[in-house]
Amino acid sequence: MTLDIVRIRKDFPILERQVHDGTPLIYLDSANTSQKPRQVLDALADFYERHNANIHRATHQLGEEATQAYEGARARLAAFIGAAGPAEVVFTKNISEAINLVAYAMGNASATGQSGRFALGPGDEIVISEMEHHSNIVPWQLLCQRTGATLRWFGVTADGRLDTSGIDGLITERTKLVAVAHQSNVLGTINPVRALADRAHAAGALLLVDAAQSVPHMPVDVAALGADFLGFTGHKMCGPTGIGVLWGRRELLEEMPPFLGGGEMIEDVRMERSTFAPPPHKFEAGTMPIAQAVGLAAAADYLGETGRDAIAEHEHGLIAHALEALAGIDGLRILGPAEPVDRGAAISFTVDEVHPHDVSQVLDSRGVAVRAGHHCAWPLHRAMGVQASTRASFYLYNTHEEVDALAAGIVEAQRFFGAGGR
C-alpha cells in the first residue's frame, strides 16, 4: 500500500500556509512537533461544542458522554499499541511526565520501603544510554540522587548505533531498570528494544521504552517489544499538545505506588491516610486533559486508517532519498547511520564552516522549517564530537520535492556564508 500524498496533504490545513510573505511552507520539524490533520481538529471542536463536561463525577448526560469519550479514547489507544487492556494506559501531560511518573513512583517506593521491585537504594543501578533525550536522562539522575542508586549508560558507536559491546557488565543483577529510546530523536537510530528487554528480564530488571519518536511513525506493539513500560507523546503523532501516554504492564501498575496525589486517584480518603483507586486512575490525579485525550485517539485512528506500515514505508523512502542527497554535499557530515537500515526519518547533520543556527536561518528564509541546536540531547552531541547540529525530520505528509528543497537550501547556506570557498 502506498500513501496518497496529495490527499494526505489536504488533511493538514497548515501545509497550505505561506511564510515570509509568500514562500510556501516546507515543514521538516515533525520530530519536534507534528502538524495536525482536520480530523483531529474536528474531534477537539466536536468535544468542546457538544460533549464538554468533567468526567467520572458529573451525574448528567454531558458528564456521561464526556466520560465515555475519554474512556473510549483510552481503549482506542490501548488497541493502537497492542496493550492487554485499557487499564494499562495511563494518560499523562506528555512523555516527560510519563517517565517522571515512573521515576517518582520508584522514589516513593524507595522512601516508604514498600513495593520491593520498585524500591531503590545504594548498590542498585539504573541503565540508560548516551543517545537519550534529556527527558530520559534527567529524571533518572534525580531519582539516583534521591535514593543513592547509581546511574550507568550505554555509549554510542561512531556511526550512531547503541554500543552494546559492554552489555554484560552493564545489565547485571544490580540493575533495577533499563530505560532506552526506541528511536533516537537526533540520529534516527532504531534500537534493538526486544533484545534489551530479554537481557533486562534475564537480570531481573524492568525495561522502560521512550517511544516518543517511534509510535508516531511505525507500528508499535508493546507485547512484541517485551517492554514493561512505554511512553509516548500526543503532539508528535498528529495529536494535540498536553496529552501523552504511559503504558505499563497491569501487574506493575497495580504494584507501583502513585506519583501525583489528588482528586479522582483515590479509593478512600481519611485525615490520617488514603487508599488508592486501581490503575489507571491511581495515576490520574485531578481533572485530566479530556478533550486532548479525545483528540489523541482521533490522531491514532487517523494514523491507523492511513496505515502505519504505509507511513513507515513512505518515510523510509524519504530518509533514503535524504541520506543520498545530503551525502552528496561537500563539507556536510551526517550524524547517525549513513544507511537507511533500522533508521527512522530524522536526519541531523553539521556543515563545515556554517553553524547550525545559520543553516536553519537560511533554510527558514526559503520556507524550510528545521531545528537547530542540541535537540535536548546534549550528551549525545558531545559523544559525537559536535556542539550542535541541524535536524530535518520527515512525516507522512512530506514529499520527495521537499527533500530536494532541503538539500538546495543547505547548498545556499554554504554559498551565503562563503563556506568551502563557494
Binding site: 545559520d358 542540541h374 552531541h381 556542539q387
Partner: protein, 153 residues
Amino acid sequence: MRLESLYQEIILDHYRRPHHAGLREPFDAEVRHVNPVCGDEVTLRVTLKDSDGGPVVADVSYDALGCSISQASASVLSDLVIGRPASEGMKLNDEFLALMQSQGEGAPDEDVLGDAVAFAGVSKYPARIKCALLAWMAWKDATAQAMGEREPA
C-alpha cells in the same frame, strides 16, 4: 524574507575576521557563558587598568564557539569596550540590551553603538537574540567580577 536584513555585511565581516579573538594573559576575571538552547559557549576574559576616572577596560579576550551572530557580537563588543571606562561599557551594554529587546522597532545611534547597530535586525528574531547577547552578558559578568575585586576592602 531577505537574509541580508538579519545578516548585514558588517556582521558577516566580523564573523569571518573576528577582532580581538583568542584568550590572552594577564586578566582580572574570566567567565564562561553558555546558551542552553543551542549549546553555544563563550569563554571571556577582562583586564582592567586604573585611571583617574575609575577603571578602564584594558583588554577583552575571548574564545567563542557559536553561530555567526554570536561570534560577530563578541568581535563588535570587544572593539567597542576596549580602551573605554568600564562604566561607559556598562552603559553600552544597557543600550545594546534595549536594542535587542526592541522587536525591530529600535532606532540605534551609530555614534553610540558603532558597528553594533548592525544587530538591529536580530531583534526581530526572538530565537537569535540570545546569540547576540551571549558575549555581552559574559562581558558584564566578568567586568563586574573584576571591578568587585578592585574595591578597597
